[in-house]
Structures are given as structure tokens and as C-alpha cells.
Symmetry: C2
Subunit: 332 residues, 2 copies
Amino acid sequence: MQIKTPYLLFLGDARDQLAAKTAQGIAYWRPEWCVGQLRLTDCNANLGLKELTVAEAAKAGVKTLIVGVANRGGIISDAWIAVLNEALERGMDLAAGLHNKLSEVPKLRETATRLGRELFDVRHPTRPFPLGTGAKRPGLRLLAVGTDVSSGKMYTTLALEKELKKRGRKADFRATGQTGIFIAGSGVSIDAVVSDFVSGAVETLSPANDPDHWDLVEGQGSLFHASYAGVTLGLIHGSQPDALVMCHEPTRQHVRGLPHFKLPGIKECMEANLAAARLTNPAAKFVGIALNTSQMSEADALKEIAKTEAAYGLPTVDPVRQGVAKIADRLW
Amino acid sequence: MQIKTPYLLFLGDARDQLAAKTAQGIAYWRPEWCVGQLRLTDCNANLGLKELTVAEAAKAGVKTLIVGVANRGGIISDAWIAVLNEALERGMDLAAGLHNKLSEVPKLRETATRLGRELFDVRHPTRPFPLGTGAKRPGLRLLAVGTDVSSGKMYTTLALEKELKKRGRKADFRATGQTGIFIAGSGVSIDAVVSDFVSGAVETLSPANDPDHWDLVEGQGSLFHASYAGVTLGLIHGSQPDALVMCHEPTRQHVRGLPHFKLPGIKECMEANLAAARLTNPAAKFVGIALNTSQMSEADALKEIAKTEAAYGLPTVDPVRQGVAKIADRLW
């Protein structure tokens, strides 16, 4: 799966900025791929990109319209279909990461088939994966793990890719979730893979490579999240990380979505992830901690970062406030 | 999903007894459901059941023909289709646990649709599952875990169900794999569930129950198996076991299918499973060890069982040689 760039970001009738967070992630990390945005009249999100009609986007050379908005329930609403269909008519492919598939909307399927356009439902893997083998393969791999979901794992690995490339190193971000896939242009939505094949899918996603090449593998879930821990474990085993980064949001009180689960401590969480990682890579080790301090004042954030760094003896940064150079320094 | 009994066990052209191990498991655990077997001319497996044609099976009241044989590659061979189709014509449903679906064979689908018969592809979950919540629910649950795959987990939980029922206790075996599903008549083939929903599927499979009711949940995989550990972790979190039984095959040298992975020790494996289980049930504890000593002499087996019991201070049995009464005694 390789999604063609550049993109038109479709924000639809997003009820708020959060509903368009997929589009926001793409615009932040790949501004050079984002020609403009298309918003319906009742859209409450805005990325500050150039407003384009489908016709204008086609003229500007857009290759793919990305549905960068999530409806309640993941529905592809009737209000969207006319716009999406016009994009197909004007030469674009469509891509979405919703639970519902573009390819299951009869009108869109029919137009795409007639014109030879592609419909990318990135949440739904279209290819079979082999079983994982756990066999060591050449190349270096870093995996972001977290004390919870939504703690900055995608951001951290993308920032590390950027930093390593700036330094002239060989590095690739490996996307395991829908927003990451739009940013990378390819990847596997790992939480949608049949459970038996999760580690095998990750082995496929980060194949053998040059001995000095880093795969920066986007993490998912958390070993301490009762809904998703199995996905996380398959991801750990399949990616065989040489290096791990722990991601943590210091103000969070409980596991996201599960108020009856206290957030685990960083130490406990590092030990559990390291034990899991060492099954397929006995040399796995932590190389840094990434704190998401977006909910804290600058002064409190810096204090928390210094405190954490002292407590664990690992380079600790907020990737947004400070970048990830200190962690990249630790990668060999 | 509820498969109607009694069964006709179809052994097809099984190349050896092992190829018919699904049928063998059913015949062992549910002899009262197995009216007979049907073997093609080049079949090398034999369960010793009454040989029946489809016509004779129909007359004997069979409700479902079970495909109890695995071909290389999981294919539904042309040689089978005539027989399977005749079973539909004579009033039976069909059930199989292959990677390929009965419902994708045009001839079978057409006949089933025309006559209103059911095609059960138990390897392929047909219903969506919710995300796991980790919320504690009433009722008691036991889960079999193992140092490896194929170490006796299904056998152990079925034996415990039988023993508890004999004692007049409320107990249900909960099937998580294809053979278990045919034996129970229902269940979820957990390794075929989309990874995000594994723990939720297990929560659905073992719902709230009477406070003195035991769910005996069939285990799958192993936390130390690089291919399947994620499936196992979701199963542990979703089943919220109050009691765990460790299953182990003492003569095995390496993890099945992965010669480069040494089998973990029982102690290390118990610690890892307990740590995982305590996320959703802090009171989880081991109540016994089940050794599969089928590859050992009686004398060696008894020595190994005594040694293991002494080392871990837990009731230790080979369920086949000795039954599971000693473990059932520990269930409250």
C-alpha cells in the first residue's frame, strides 16, 4: 500500500478541532504534502491551510483526498459522499482510516471501479501476513512504548526520524496506526490485524535492513491497558527493538477510557516492557524518556523533565518543547 | 453461534491420524455426540467409530457434519465437496475450522442457501466484539496457561469441567479454539479475532455469572511464544482469571515451531503470567500444574510429577494419567 501525494485534507463537518486530529497530524508532519483543506459549511475545525474546492485541488495537482476527520461512530455520512465522489471524478484517489470502509459505499466503489481510482481504507489491512518467527534480522530498530495510549508515541518516533535524517543517518518511521500511515504514505494499522498475525505483520513492516539503518517503529497501546495490551505485546515482539523510548503524560490520573485503572509508574512500566522485549531481542534497552507536558506550564514542565531525568538516569525530553536531539545522541 | 448435535465426523482423506486430531478431540470428549465417522477411500485416520454413509447418518438423526480433518494448506478439496453437499441435501448443517471457508465454496453456499442450512466456519468469527473494559464481573474463572503451545491447556480445562460437574458444581468450559468449539458447541476462535478486540471477545465469552459458578477458559499460545504471545495476553486480561493452571510438557526442548527459542522454565513462566493476570484481577493465583507426560514412561512421569509438586508446592498432575481431582480440590 502506497498512498500517492500530494494530499487534499477533507475536514468534512468536524464538530470540533479534535475530530480532525488525523488531518492535523498530517498537516503538522508533512506540510509539503498538504496542498489545502476542504471544509463543509458546518465544519468547526480549521488547519489554517488554503481552502480549496475539489476542482481547484485537482488543478493544483492533488493525487489523493484524505478523509482526515472522525465522525461519532466512524460513519461515512451522506453529506460527504458527493464531495468524495467528485474527487474520484476529477482524478484523485481517496483514503480514510475509519471503521467503515470507503469501498463499502456503493456510489464510491462504482465510480472508483469505472475510473480505475484507488480507495485506501487504511484501518483495514488488505493483505495477509505471515506468522511471526522472532528470528533476528539485520538493521536497528527503536520502538516507542508508553504508560498509556495517546501519550506521544507517534510524535516521538516521527521526531526521531526527522532528527536522524537531519544528521545524515539512515532512518525510517514505520507507521502502525492510521494517522501515521497517512504521514508515512504506507504502513500497517496493527490494531486491525487478526490477532494471530500481529507480530508477523510488524516483522513484515520493519524488514531486514542495512546494519546502520534505524527503523523508528510507532508504538500502540500500552502493556497496562486492559483493552489493548495484547496488541502492544505483539508489536514489541515483532519489532525486536534494540532501543526503547518510554512515553508518559505526567498529569494523567488513570488509563485513558478506563477510569477504574490507575496509570502505572514509569519504573514498573519500563521493567514490564523490557522483560517483554527481551524475548525476541535480549539486548533491548531504554535510551530515553519522552514526556508529553502539553497540560503543564513551562516552569512545571521543565521541573518535571529534570526530576524524571535524575530519577531514571536517561535522557528525558518533551519532544514538542525541546526536540529529541538528546535521545538521538544515544542511538549508535 | 450454537452448533447442533449430534455430529457425523468427516475424516476425508486424512494422510495420518494427526491430520484428524480435531475429530479425535471431539470423539474423546463428546462420545455421546458422535454418531459415527465418514472416511474417503484413501483415509489413513480412524477413530474406531461406526462407519456411516451420509444417508445412514441422516437416518440416525445427525444434525451436523463436522469437517474434523486438516489438509495441508487448509484447503477444502474437490474430493470432499460431493460428500459435504450431500450432507446439506440430506438435512445436515456443516461445520469446519479451516482457514478456508465452507461459505466460500460456491456449490456449498448455493445448496445451503437454497435449503436453509447453516455453514459454521468456526475459525472465522462472524460477529463484532466490543473493546475489553477490564471491569470486574461476578462469577469465578480459571484459565489454563502454558510454557508453550500444545501443552495440554484444552485437555486440562475440559477435565476440570467434567470433574466439577461430577461434584455438582456449576461449571462451563469456554472454548477459544476450533476443536474446543466443536466440543462445547460454541465459543470464539480467539486467534482469528481482530487484535484490538481480543480481550473484549473473551469478556463476552465468559460473561457475568453466579458468584459460585466457574468458567473454565481454554488457554491459547504462550506469553513466551514469539508468534502468539499477544493473543495470550489479551486472553489473560479478558478472562480475569481468579485461578490459573500452568501446563507444561517436560520433554520439550524448544518452543514449538521456533527451534531458536528455548522453552521457558515453569517458575519464570508462572511469574510472567501472574504479573499479566493481576492487571485485571489482583487476586489471581496459581492453583495447580498440569504436566503432559505422554512422551515419558510411567515411572519417569510419576517421578517428574512428584518433583514438580515438591518444587512449586502446588497440586501437580498429568490429567490423562491421574485426572484433575487434586487441582479441583483447590477450587473454592
